[in-house]
Amino acid sequence: MSGEILLVGLAGVLASAGPIVFAAVGEAITERAGITNLSMNGLILLSAMGSFAATLATGSIALGILAGAAIGAAVSAIVALSSITLKQSQVAVGFILAMLCRDLSYFLGNPIMGQPGPRLVQAPLPYLKDIPIAGPLLFRQDLMTYMSYLLVILAWLYMNKTRPGLVLRGLGERPAAAYARGADVHRLRYLYTIAGGALAGIAGPMYSLSIKAGWKGTITGLDGMGWIALAITIFGGWSPIKIAFGAWFFALLQWLGIVLQPAMPSVPSQVLQVAPFPLMILTLLFVNMGNAEWVESMLARLPEKPRRALAKFLRAVNVKPPAALGTPFEKD
């Protein structure tokens, strides 16, 4: 394959990873605050359908994207209410919402299924688009893909370089200590869950207004992206930059599946389509290995030197979730 075609293909990878970046970074923010929002899959489908419908109705893509964010925020508000105030199981409500929003999106989207709609246009950036290699790869995308680059940078800056970002990291790590420092833990958790949900809600319109424009119901190919985003949040260690790489890696696998199809005629196309999903989720095994109890007790029994070396390796590879993730916070 020629270099040019390769670059175009890879640029497409970056574009198709855009929604995953938004969803996974949004979820990372929510989880850093200590809440798990398992509704992601349904949320994205609903926001994709809703934003497309809004765009069709108003003719404005901008309004469509806003609608997507609003839907994401609304669904996450339910998760927040249930988890923080009503203290119900985060897994249960997240899962129910994942199913419910999915069905809602198919049902409400039925009338607009298959309709052609506006889509985002390519907006190559002047000067930047002509840089060799980086130009065609990064700077000949649509607006929302540029937003995804920006999101990664902004999220990273927020988490690591600002005061409120520090508090965010403390919320999920040790809410009692954050409370001791004056943070209103419950209010902040509401805020970050809804904000993270709004960001994830933008993943929907990025898909239905750009990558695979329109709403095609069950064949939409969007189903499952939410679960992958959740896995990538973990795989990326809750850090925006690593998450972005995880998302690009996943999109690359998907693209490879399509590209390598002719070379593997015996393998049905659906298999190659599905293959990246379990691959990503099974990498969780790899990054989680250090947390397992038997590994810890095995480590304890090793002599000093190999123990240090192995511990160092595991620490580099391993991801440790925010320590208080999923546990409700009680003031006393």
């Binding site: 009503l86 203290k87 069905d103 049905p268 599905v274 379990p278 989720i281 969780l284 947390n291």
Partner: protein, 350 residues
């Protein structure tokens, strides 16, 4: 005070009313006549004998799956991988039937062996999730999800690869089995197999007896409610977790085997049909009580079957049943939390 029966019932009825209300709103949003649509669902489920028997056909795998999930929920596990376990059961059963087709084994025995194979396949797949959790530290939600995808991929590969129809591979699945190997149904046209119903009822009865009446079930409960205390009382906790996965997987595998042998008579790409996820919802709705599982599963099956007509009659998507089911479970859970918060405030702090 917050645990009193009338108060609980009040909140639950409130949840049902709210769920119906939201569904009506959703219907209005699409411009459809709400009550006519709901009426169509009802008619589509119990209107005539054919659809009623279809409801029972849908009830069978749902009930089996729910029963299995009660075992894992008792131990406090989220077996989201249940979909894949149904698929693996279907695959193993298909493999068994294909191996025995036309051979020396009688069709009756072949079917029994296929069921056993299905149960085994589901159990193995479920224990894999358990192993990933116990030894790999992988949360069973993501392990289950991943294995769901692997199961789907495996299924599709088989249908389009080694087991494909001669000539061109087709989305309609593998070559249908010889009629002799079809699970006997009530009549030629019906897909309702009494044997399947018996298996489903046996399944829920087994789980009920297991959880309520056996030492094993009591130990499972202890592990689910307080693993530390359970360990001190002498219960080997992680072994019990793996066994509960196996039980759930076996029942899910049986559901898959039934789908293959009684309903579709072949392996199709979407053999698990979302019964796994639906079973999770049923289990949550009945608050993990085995006694209520059968009627609620029947209700959910009725909603699913009843909605099939919606696209034809009202030009609505059949996912309306999912909307009803989802809002119902959601409001029951939210209502439960609200009740505890409103009524429980009277208790003194420690």
């Amino acid at each position: 005070m917050s645990e009193s029966r009338p108060i609980k019932a009040l909140f639950q009825v409130g949840a049902v009313v709210l769920a119906l209300g939201i569904t009506v709103l959703v219907l209005l949003a699409t411009g459809a006549p709400p009550f006519a649509a709901l009426g169509s669902i009802a008619k589509g489920a119990v209107g005539n004998l054919n659809v009623a028997s279809d409801v029972v056909v849908a009830w069978v795998p749902l009930l089996l799956v729910t029963a299995g999930l009660l075992a894992t929920f008792t131990v406090g596990l989220w077996n989201i991988g249940i979909e894949g376990q149904i698929t693996l059961g279907a695959i193993f059963a298909t493999w068994a039937l294909r191996s025995f087709e036309g051979g020396a084994v009688s069709p009756g025995l072949a079917l029994v062996l296929a069921f056993a194979a299905g149960a085994a396949g589901g159990a193995v797949w479920a224990m894999l999730v358990g192993a990933l959790k116990t030894f790999g530290g992988v949360n069973e939600i993501f392990g289950g999800l991943g294995l769901n995808y692997v199961a789907t991929a495996l299924n599709i590969w088989l249908i389009f690869g080694p087991w494909k129809r001669p000539g061109v591979a087709s989305m309609s699945g593998t070559v249908p089995f010889d009629k002799a190997y079809w699970l006997p149904t009530v009549s030629e046209q019906s897909r309702l197999a009494p044997a399947a119903v018996a298996v489903a009822i046996a399944g829920i009865a087994l789980i009920f007896a297991l959880v309520q009446g056996t030492y094993f079930g009591l130990r499972l409960k202890a592990v689910g409610k307080n693993p530390k205390a359970a360990y001190l009382l002498g219960i080997p906790t992680w072994q019990y977790m793996i066994v509960s996965f196996a039980i759930c997987g076996a029942l899910a595998g049986l559901a898959g085997a039934i789908q293959v042998s009684a309903v579709y008579h072949r392996l199709i790409p979407s053999i698990s049909s979302g019964y796994g996820y639906l079973g999770l919802m049923v289990a949550m709705l009945v608050n993990y009580s085995a006694a209520l599982a059968a009627p609620v599963a029947l209700f959910f099956a009725a909603l699913n079957v009843g909605s099939i007509q919606l696209p034809i009659i009202h030009k609505l998507d059949s996912s309306l049943s999912g909307v009803l089911q989802g809002t119902l479970v959601l409001f029951v859970i939210l209502g439960d939390g609200l009740r505890k918060r409103l009524m429980g405030k009277g208790r003194s702090g420690s």
